[in-house]
């Protein structure tokens, strides 16, 4: 039996990048410690704030919601949950009830918003329409942009001071690499543990950013949290290729993911000089904050001949 490097109990995880083995208790404590350290180091949440957490029902967001609920109890914060139902048949319709169940168990206010209500159509139908025009279209382009927009809008309507998302180390490093490959300097520069306040946007924070995906999964399993473990039917393309590449790299060269993150953090301050400043404007179509005449969600919808969100439905802060 392999033993925990700290207490000698039976090990459940080999943290190769740190050269230690962890038992169930030490693993849970370690993950929770990293979560609290990220919040403290980056000033993600202040006492008394109203924090919204995006929760899909998947392992990352359910784990984040449970840790945030505990954190908020000790720091006089108020936690509310937001679930975006994109309308992915056989996938999201199975995870939403799990999000509901967890939020209810924690006694949280929970708002569910859907693409269908906000944009007039489900992601499934939007993708079908997009594919009829452009067969090689990547569904994540639509989902990512529209989900972010809707999460922000819901958080703003709920009066949240912060919007916590469950991005883990793997998500963050994949995003860094993806923006490198796409040469998207503006998006690369925006990545970070906490987003700077901008008019109309609820500042986003990522308390799981320094926790590898496998450790978040182990945390959820060891804590016996009820989570939805299924693969998104649309998860493919370059993003998935980068994910597989990074997992291969990490398996052969432990600590690679953290090294990519650390290198990015050293480069980030220098990127500011190369990125044009964001001029806050309002989307002429839906009223959401944007840097261009119309926001990306409306641009994508208009490209498909769909009606963007009516301006009167975009809440003002």
């Amino acid at each position: 039996m392999l033993k925990c490097s700290f207490c000698g109990r039976r090990a459940v995880y080999d943290r190769k990048y740190a050269g230690v083995m962890l038992c169930d208790r030490c693993m849970i404590e370690s993950v929770e410690r990293r979560f609290r350290r990220a919040i403290a180091e980056h000033g993600m949440i202040s006492p008394g704030e109203r924090v919204a957490v995006g929760v899909s029902g998947g392992k990352d967001s359910v784990a984040a919601m449970h840790m945030l609920a505990e954190y908020c109890r000790h720091h006089r914060c108020e936690l509310v949950a937001i679930t975006v139902d994109e309308g992915i048949k056989g996938y999201r319709d199975r995870s939403v009830p799990i999000a509901v169940e967890n939020a209810r168990a924690l006694g949280l206010e929970h708002r569910i918003v859907s693409f269908e209500d906000a944009f007039g159509d489900t992601l499934d139908r939007i993708v079908k329409l997009a594919k009829s025009k452009e067969p090689e279209v990547n569904p994540c382009t639509y989902c990512g942009v529209m989900r972010r927009s809707l999460l922000n809008r819901a958080a703003r309507e709920l009066g949240a001071d912060k919007l916590a998302t469950a991005h883990n180390l793997d998500d963050e490093v994949q995003a860094i690499m993806l923006n490198y490959v796409r040469a998207d300097l503006a998006r690369l520069h925006r990545l970070g543990p906490a987003y700077e306040p901008r008019e109309g946007f609820v500042p986003r924070v990522k308390p799981l950013r320094e926790i590898p995906e496998k450790e978040v999964a182990l945390y959820a399993l060891l804590k016996r949290l009820r989570v939805h473990l299924a693969v998104c039917p649309y998860a493919r393309g370059m993003h998935a290729e980068i994910r597989d590449f990074l997992n291969g790299l990490e398996a052969n060269h432990p600590n690679s993911k953290f090294m990519v993150l650390r290198m990015f953090e050293r480069l980030k301050p220098k990127l500011a000089e190369a990125v044009p400043r964001f001029e806050p404007r309002r989307c002429s179509s839906c009223g959401e904050p944007t840097s261009t005449r119309i926001c990306k969600s409306c641009e994508l919808l208009e490209g498909l001949g769909l009606k963007p969100i009516p301006a009167n439905r975009a809440a003002e802060k």
């Binding site: 039996m1 392999l2 039976r10 090990a11 459940v12 995880y13 080999d14 083995m21 169930d24 899909s56 998947g58 392992k59 992915i88 996938y91 989902c143 793997d170 995906e213 496998k214 999964a217 182990l218 399993l221 060891l222 939805h228 473990l229 299924a230 693969v231 998104c232 649309y234 998860a235 998935a240 994910r243 597989d244 997992n247 291969g248 990490e250 398996a251």
Partner: protein, 71 residues
């Protein structure tokens, strides 16, 4: 000759398949045989979560939980 048989079940599935492996193999060897990256899977052997360096014994039931969900 002289190998061991491991019963393997994919997460959420009922079917159990048997895989013959040499003696003294580790969970990592099983994952390699199945072409699975340890970064993407949690292994539960006889109901307990184990590290990939744990050795497998004849008749063990290994459950492989995919943790990369995407979306």
């Amino acid at each position: 000759m002289g190998g061991i048989v491991i019963r393997v079940r994919s997460f959420g599935k009922r079917e159990i398949r048997s895989i013959e492996l040499p003696k003294r193999v580790m969970v990592a060897d099983l994952l390699k045989r199945l072409d699975l990256n340890p970064q993407t899977v949690v292994a539960r052997v006889n109901g307990k979560i184990v590290v990939e360096r744990e050795r497998l014994a004849d008749g063990d039931l290994a459950e492989l939980i995919p943790i990369v969900t995407g979306g």
